[in-house]
Symmetry: C2
Subunit: 431 residues, 2 copies
């Protein structure tokens, strides 16, 4: 422990610090840490239901609770008030894995529809997302064997606040279909990493339906906000998509890692992913009455991650979780207000959740390059102080600072201090 | 906590129980649990070096230490005594992910060699493993887009103790090459899940080299034993393979999840897996001097898993870790002795590590079906007692019980009690 304190801690980036405003926060709680601790001690590898019944049951229960919090249609749930649902969920490690497994299911479905055997038609399948979609989506497509030439990154612009334009999507999908390709999968993002842009889920699902393509919603960060009625409209239309993933390890107080994937028809996933080796055969599986979660993920082994999610929801309850989201959003609004009140700065895109994208405005004799450079220097100088940590992005060719509120220990005073530091550092640069 | 005790614990399969002999044990230790606890609290998502320098450095250090323990060639190490190595390691969640990412790297290398663009030649690539290889390998091949028709499962038999026969491998690879396919990847297993069979790493690497195919060694379970000189020969020839993975979460006291993947040329992996979105760009990455571990895995986010592995090695040291392996093997030997001394039973395959595959022998008027049924009933009756938990497999068409020693709290008395229970239960069936 001494070596840890003296040699390791000084070299860590302190994601848990209230002065951490970079990337997206990894929110945390005593309930989640306790859940992880107990799971570490139990150390079950619940790959099949039979390998640890309560581990699977609790994961399914926690996922169904979260689905209720998010007001997802019951078609995504494992159990409904009238019995077993057709949908299902699974806890994975990352959004990337959620994308990968649904891409594989979609690809199998497309090959099946076209009556193809094997992958001989794989080069004809095409996939779609906005250029603001996380880079990991395009990587997942390559991992799953899609032809890089058929992975479409559709340009976005300020007219849609960098969200995917459904008519552009239609245009691109139609052109591909006309050229003999098979439109297979569309990824819509609710709350992009770069600037928190929101793709219109319902409109995108309508377009995709024309081609029988799978629609996945990546709500890794902003999905957590959708437990509040005032943000839920961002998921409107979700009843028409095939799958949705969101990560409570980002904004729902559940420490790493916990990505929840829901699919409307669990069998479409497990048909592609199931294995049945002799050494895992058991009566429960053969009864067809249980869920074997290994058949909804890449690997076999799996930790008891349902426990921490269950403990977070059980400990805090709906109201407290909503308050947590609202408090972060209120702090982000306050920061946004500070920025707008200082005419040296601009807010670059509308703030949707708790991320504020801002920059020193181009002014006077500044060129665009000068403004970018000023913002780059601002970020470097801020981060060098060790008193705040921010990351950047590029939006519409402009270098932009991302101020992501929400680290679990953050209070108004930390946001205010960071703003004071930003003002002071900017004065140092601009004078 | 009360609800956990009353509603959840009774439904768990207690993997940590000393009476757990099923599957492979998930070994554990206070050091690993503490490492996980601290990592949960720090909650860093060290996707890039810059996102938490010490998290990456410690993971790399822990992996290099483990490589030294395993006497892997320095070509697999990130740092060598003379500076930075060309190899590298990464901690992943499962062996399946290690297989998937190396399959993708191998597939890109094969396409590159054949001058193909995109995946248009993917249907020509072929992959190889013994029929005893974990089913997750064949699944990983499908996930990566290999044509199911070109995924070869090579039959094994008692003449090689169910290990892959290198001359059969050569035959199959040559036939494929003659038919215009491109032999791309061979998976060799050291310690199969079913019966702990060992594929001959060196001989397999020699065959694969004739076709320029990637060789991966899956030593998920038995790799841990190779820290003892008396088991290290199972890795002979590893200097000629491209990658090797082993899981300290199985047999090296490091709780779930911790799969260590080593590759001989780290760039072959990162060339296939790297992403470089604007919001993750940073000076450290651009310097080329650091490792961004996100470029060696499926996803972006990652937990600080290096900490627990470092804490286990730091706390126990080489000698104690070797003693831990030897103590488990000694208990397995004792159990094997018990079985051999009772003529109602047989040991089905030679015991290589701490797994004993045994069964009630066919005798008297018993048919093969009767013997299988007797063993099935034995397992069911044993497990129903709640005093021991065993799993089964099928070896050479026979139903076989797997007695896997090694659960961390296990002592000789637990093995002895389990054997007494087995004898008594068998008497109940046979009389």
């Amino acid at each position: 422990m001494k070596e840890l304190r003296t040699s390791v801690v000084p070299g860590m980036t302190h994601w848990a610090s209230p002065n951490f405003f970079a990337f997206f926060p990894c929110t945390n709680s005593a309930a989640a840490i306790a859940g992880n601790l107990i799971a570490s001690a139990m150390n079950t590898a619940g790959f099949t239901w039979q390998a640890s019944p309560a581990a699977t049951e609790m994961e399914v229960l926690a996922l169904d609770w979260l689905a209720q919090l998010l007001r997802l249609p019951t078609t995504f749930m494992n159990r409904t008030s009238t019995g077993r649902g057709t949908g299902g969920g699974v806890i994975l490690g990352t959004t990337s894995e959620a994308m990968l497994v649904t891409l594989v299911a979609a690809h199998d479905a497309a090959l099946h529809r076209s009556g193809s055997v094997g992958v001989s038609h794989l080069p004809r399948l095409a996939v779609y997302a906005a250029d603001q979609t996380h880079s990991t989506f395009f990587k997942a497509c390559r991992l799953a064997g899609f032809d890089p030439a058929n992975i479409r990154s559709i340009p976005t612009g300020p007219e849609t606040n960098y969200g995917l334009n459904p008519s552009k999507l239609l245009e691109v999908m139609q052109a591909d279909a006309d050229a003999g390709l098979v439109p297979t999968y569309v990824c819509a993002t609710v709350g992009t990493t770069s600037s928190n842009a929101v793709d219109l889920v319902g409109a995108i699902a309508d377009v995709a339906a024309m081609f029988n393509a799978w629609v996945h919603v990546d709500a890794a960060y902003a999905g957590s906000a959708c437990i509040c009625p005032e943000f839920r409209h961002h998921l409107d239309g979700v009843e028409h998509v095939d799958s949705i993933s969101m990560s409570p390890h980002k904004w729902l107080l559940t420490c790493l890692d916990c990505t929840c994937l829901y699919v409307r028809d669990a069998h479409r996933l497990s048909d592609s992913l199931e294995t049945n080796p002799e050494y895992l055969k058991n009566d429960a599986t053969e009864s067809g009455e249980v869920t074997d979660l290994k058949d909804m993920q890449v690997g076999v082994g799996r930790r008891f991650r349902g426990l921490k999610l269950w403990m977070v929801m059980h400990t805090y309850g709906t109201t407290k979780l909503q308050e947590h989201i609202r408090s972060d959003v209120a702090m982000a609004k306050m920061f946004e207000y500070f920025v707008r009140a200082d005419n040296r700065f601009e807010v670059v895109v509308p703030r949707n959740f708790a991320l504020v994208c801002f920059r020193i405005k181009r002014s006077g004799a500044m060129t665009e390059e000068d403004a970018d450079e000023a913002n780059r220097v601002l970020m470097e100088n801020l981060n060098k102080t060790g008193r705040a940590y921010l990351a950047h992005t590029v939006v519409g060719d402009k270098f932009v600072l991302r101020f992501a509120v929400g680290s679990s220990l953050q209070e108004e005073r930390h946001v205010t201090s960071a703003w004071d530091l930003i003002k002071k550092t900017t004065s140092g640069i601009m004078d």
